[in-house]
Amino acid sequence: MIDVLQSIIPTALFFSAPLIFTALGGVFSERSGVVNIGLEGLMVMGAFVGIVFNLTFADALGGWTPWISIIVATFVGAIFSIIHAVASVSFRADQVVSGVAINFLALGLGVYLTKQWYGKGQTEMVSQPFFSNDIPFLSDIPIIGPMFFKGVYTTSYIAILFAVIAWYILYKTPFGLRLRSVGEHPMAADTNGINVYKMRYIAVIISGALGGLGGSVFALTIASNFSHSTIVGQGFISLAAVIFGKWHPLGALGAALFFGLAQSLSVVSSSVPFLASVPDIFLLIAPYVLTILALAGFIGRADAPKANGVPYIKGTR
């Protein structure tokens, strides 16, 4: 059993990290009342920027390259998401539609530019991806050490840390209170002197930043290059994590980790004696079935932020 845990937990951690970042972005956006189907596109943008920057500056920046790459990707993700913010906040667009446009745009633009700049549909592999490390001392603790602290990516811990920070921001600070109020009852927020549009812009931009971060972390820990198939569905899984986690940062963290665990369990199972006889197909679909069962079984009904998806128009009720 411990053996199994020791092999699934580290994998779950790196598998989940990009999902955690992105899902947190989704939480911010949707908490402010802006539905974000565009998470997938934001991840694509992040992955694209992370890889291109890494390839371009690896020689100049050396070991710092991946870190600076994800910072740049975060930044570009934030800028890119302004499109969604303008559409859904200022232009009163249907937010789902605008999110779908983001997905098309990111993938189209990413691959188009890749072809334009590299003359082919996929980039080289980066020479400076993230590497995992053992955390000194902690990794020597018996049992726990190898599970959580050996061969882990710093980014995975940053992801978990971000979830806690996001929780703190959303639930403990004035900013968070305002952001959530805008997603529940924008008019109430407005009459309390909160600028609904500004809050929503900020929230969407945060989601862009985190989506970009998630995408670039995926690219630099897992894929190593960029092509049309680098991000395929991770954004949608993150969206599912937002809802599964009941629009709560720690819930989203839990949901993303759950998904990572289920995925890694499905791979590991083949080497676990009593599961080895289970036909592969069941292991393959296990993560998805488990997620549905978890929702149906004990998570149940989740209430979205009340004003989620509704454009706020000043002066109407």
Binding site: A87, A101, G233
Partner: protein, 350 residues
Amino acid sequence: MSSSHRLFSVLIPIISVLLGLIAGAVIMLLSGYNPITGYAALWRGAFGDAYTIGETIRRSTPYILSGLAVAFAFRANLFNIGAEGQVIVGWLAAVWVGISVEAPMVIHLPLAILAAALAGALWGFIPGLLKAKLGVHEVIVTIMMNYIALYSTNEIIRNVLTDHKTTTESIHESASMASEWLGSITFFSRLHYGILLALFIAIIIWFLIDRTTIGYELKAVGFNPHASKYAGMNVSKNIILAMVISGALGGLAGAMEGLGTYGNISVMSGFSNIGFDGIAVALLGANTPLGVVIAAFLFGTLKEGAGEMPTGAGIPTELVDVIIAIIIFFVASSYIIRWALLRFKGGKSK
């Protein structure tokens, strides 16, 4: 007021498409291509001759149905991201019946189509049931169902329909919608009778939504489940029904591929995207059947025409995705176009 409303609902999509094409031209210019050559290639790729016209229509066919699937659910305030999975299982079911049943065409073809609809309906039923009875959000369940559909279908193709092969044998003639005649007038394109079915179903769905008590209930439940319950409607039943019909439409989109275009099904290493594109088609079409049909043709045209762009003008096909994105973006932002139009009109009259 209402006549200007009608005018806007026609003008806005047209303006959006124009803006998308202009943006595409700008991108081409910026990357050193000639937009005229580019669009000429796109046009040739979609309408250059009988063959490409046939292929364009063929490509639009499943989009009509997957777009309807998403749109139908939307009308009941449900977001069916699972059209993709429904397309896949529909495709599988259609081919399965197409291969394993022997019957005259009048029985076989409808049976295969029905099987596709049923399989899709089942795939919609599960998220619908979970939503109605347990309040589980349909978005997550449909996303998960997509993956389950993909992997299970692959498994069935490999181990049930074939003996560890990647493609099934072809369906019997009696279950095929392919048409030699349609092929012959379009120079061997794969245009098939599915287009007639798709258009027919679009009309049925329009009728269902706007002219029947079922549609009346579905929309009411979508708008306001509380009031609907007060009015004696069965809210759970309607949610499930909406997802079932939506799923069936997705399944039918799969049948277009299984019985029309390909006549078989292959192991897929990724999604077909017919369902995902259906989301965009539905939204472009403002979730109305007529809108969906038009959007499906627009989508089909752009996607089919894109194929000619690299060979014809050296431009990467992805440019078309960018153009589509911009069109969707402007359609979504119709408010701002309306505003600009009003300003323009106001400015002129003053």
